[in-house]
Symmetry: C2
Subunit: 469 residues, 2 copies
């Protein structure tokens, strides 16, 4: 049943009009009136069995985690899998953070305040102050990582049925939260040839129900960093059309040119009450498991609503916050260090991908991702091929298929996302596997397309069970 | 602005028709067409400023945390405040859990799997197995505490505009999540005289858009424990009308009669695919800050959707899960111990409240709450009085006003919730303050109603900022 639903949801997601087109129907229309044969037949056979909601049926699986069972199978065949598919930093969580955790060893592990532990709030405000961004106590709520900050930002700015604009390719989980909240997504197509920077005319994407503009800066999956001119165009668009601007800045310090960090949406003075910052400590401190982030806005109405949303879920994780508070002990040299490490890896990654004949690979300005176009018709088939049928010296590589970062049907079919979260020696081996694997994949596709096509569907397993990360 | 919105939201919540009546309007109706003068005027003055969503404007503040600033003010006047208002256990988090935490002191604090760390999943399944409840690996997703399990359960079963039935008085945060998701709440009134057990005719509350029945067992705020007959009636109702049954069982082991624990919704064999269990380790292990819970269902479609929702937020808190996994090291004697402690406190609490002339106090079968009717017209005014104007030997007591646990306008006005989460000596003092404070409150109200009424509104401050828990 689960896999049937996943197929169904992908059917709606991919070739359909938009993720949530079906949510526009009045809620009194039951599923039985739909024409999905299997589902309808089964449901008609058991009339009093409740049906899951449409938002549940439409919820997309994570494209990053979807193929994990194939990686697990490869491991069980004895292969080592290099994970370039997931944004999990390999750099150690800073020592002061582990030390902070060690100081807590007994008593009651009690709720913290809904808007965050005072010690964590103070560390966050000090962090922004060091960037030159003054954040008033009333303007910040600590969240359960960037995910919850995003959930709250979308819920505060959009009603069910309203639309958020997002430059595409986009961070796939934006789609998951939009579905959960019944919000429509309208993608703004950006091209690999432009380094995934914004297209000229943004106004054409605004429609009557459009309420917000959401983007990641530095970008995920692209690594693209918007400069002040580009941010100014977003701000103007927002002012012209009365939009909220939701900025996901979780890779802020990972910028590899002279800027060293991305300009924050909070620094655009003309944006004021329109700006909502979604932030997370996960990437910049290798702290993904702590689940600590923040939502920040100068808009008192937004913050009032976010505080009430936060009350409903009582408290962000307390242990994670105690760890996060130790960020206050890290000086700017910490970011210099990790920036140097990631920049060198970026250079290596771009070099390797550009050396592939027929590949198009921009040099991303930030984050730890490269999005590249490969000379293949179906990049997901290539990703599967690497996991199922290719290895060098007992090792293979997992990439994230580009199609998972597109809401537009058919988008990203020839693209992959590479996360350079491995030390260089391994990274080099992992990318060599990609290069040689691609040659083998193309050779196989040319020599035996029928056999290869026949094998692939059988190997495609439902993705949700036991996914690693 | 924040306080204005809170007033507005309370205006909609309390005397209005239903929490979400306004969400029924087509989303193209902007706020400017509403008749809330101040809000409209301000918005008309700045036409291009974006407006927060209706679900944001309607999000209710937590009634439990709402009056916290008054407690903070009392502390700043030098008083000690006994917190009987919040369900934060005072019993220590078991030592094996802290020991589990101490074993993690370096490396990368990485994401865990979306559906939970294997070690935590195993501990949970062993826990249910010890209760005689077999939970298949596919039937469980670890969540960020009960709050997220509730969010996922509601989202999986209800679309925006559909209705969930909830026995009333109800756990206030149910309303918060319903608002976030655009779901309607229809309360089923239960009476203090019946010990807050279910009324006779449940069918009359079901309407065309009703899709789910949500309840807490043991109850919060009532402590009421449904027996198998009562659960059977819920199951029958669900079968007759095709409803999901969402059971919040976070106080499962806190049952003070021979049953020792509440029957789980998973044990109702005739419910099968209809049942969704919302669980949390917070209360039973004094682990509120860890933020670890679970959603369990035999329904493969529900679990498929919940897994996809879980992928969007990547991972539950990893440190909390490592702590939670140590639950496997605790034998049944742990629950015997805390049950004995809480039972004795319940007896003390019921005795004290029943000794108040004119009070009505059932003997709750479980949880660590007592809901009682006091001989006052406005229990919230009494709660404020204790914090603002009453003390014995430098101490006062905070209760939760009953009105916060009602969705029905005017409900619970003469009720309070008492959480017995203090050791007995302190609990006795805290309840003595309630008893004597009530006499003083009534004396003051009778002698100087005008003066008292004049003082109270000035002392009422907006509640969201800096609330403790």
């Amino acid at each position: 049943m689960s896999s049937e639903l996943e197929l169904l949801s992908r059917r709606f997601l991919r070739p359909g009009d938009s993720t949530l087109g079906r949510l526009d129907r009045p809620s009194s229309v039951p599923y039985d009136e739909d024409e999905e044969e299997g589902l309808t037949a089964r449901r008609k056979g058991a009339p009093s069995l409740p049906q899951i909601s449409r938002r549940a049926a439409l919820a997309p699986p994570s494209p990053i985690r979807r193929l994990m069972p194939l990686a697990e199978a490869a491991r069980q065949r004895g292969l080592h899998v290099h994970h370039l598919n997931i944004g999990q930093p390999d750099l150690p969580t800073p020592a002061p953070m582990w030390a902070a955790l060690a100081r807590h060893r007994d008593g009651v592990l009690a709720y913290g305040p809904s808007d965050g532990l005072p010690v964590c709030r103070a560390a966050l405000r000090r962090y922004y102050a060091a960037l030159g961004i003054a954040v008033d106590d009333s303007e910040l709520v600590v969240t359960t990582a960037g995910s919850e900050a995003l959930l709250f930002a979308l819920a505060a700015s959009l009603n069910p049925g309203e639309t958020v604009l997002i430059p595409e390719p986009l961070y796939a989980n934006y789609l998951g939260f939009a579905t959960l909240l019944g919000v429509e997504v309208r993608p703004i197509p950006c091209r690999v040839e432009d380094g995934y920077h914004l297209p000229e005319d943004l106004d054409r994407y605004v429609e009557p129900g459009t309420r917000a503009f959401l983007f990641a800066n530095p970008g995920n999956p692209t690594g693209t960093v918007y400069g002040t001119e580009e941010l100014g165009r977003i701000a103007e668009l927002a002012r012209r059309h009365g939009l909220f601007v939701i900025a996901d800045e979780v890779y802020r310090e990972l910028v590899y040119d002279d800027r060293q960090r991305a300009t924050s949406v909070l620094e655009l003075s003309d944006l004021g009450d329109r700006a909502i910052l979604v932030d997370s400590l996960s990437k910049r401190y290798s702290l993904c498991g702590a689940r600590v982030g923040a939502l920040i806005s100068r808009n008192a109405e937004v913050m009032g609503a976010v505080r009430r949303f936060a009350m409903a879920r009582l408290s962000p994780p307390v242990l994670g916050q105690l760890v996060a508070a130790a960020a206050a002990e890290l000086g700017p040299e910490y970011f210099d260090q990790i920036r140097t490490t990631y920049r060198s890896r970026r250079d290596l990654t771009v070099r390797a991908l550009r050396a592939i004949p027929g590949a198009t690979c921009p040099e991303p300005e930030g984050a730890f991702y490269v999005m590249a176009r490969l000379p293949v018709a179906d990049a997901e088939a290539f990703v599967r091929f690497l996991l199922e049928s290719f290895a060098i010296a007992g090792e293979t590589t997992m990439l994230a298929p580009g199609n998972g970062f597109y809401h537009t049907p058919g988008g990203g079919k020839d693209e992959v996302r590479v996360a350079y979260v491995l030390e260089e020696e391994k990274l080099e081996r992992a990318l060599d596997i990609v290069t040689q694997g691609l040659a083998a994949f193309k050779a196989e596709a040319e020599s035996a397309p029928a056999e290869s096509a026949a094998r692939r569907p059988a190997a495609a397993r439902p993705a949700s069970r036991g996914a690693l990360t």
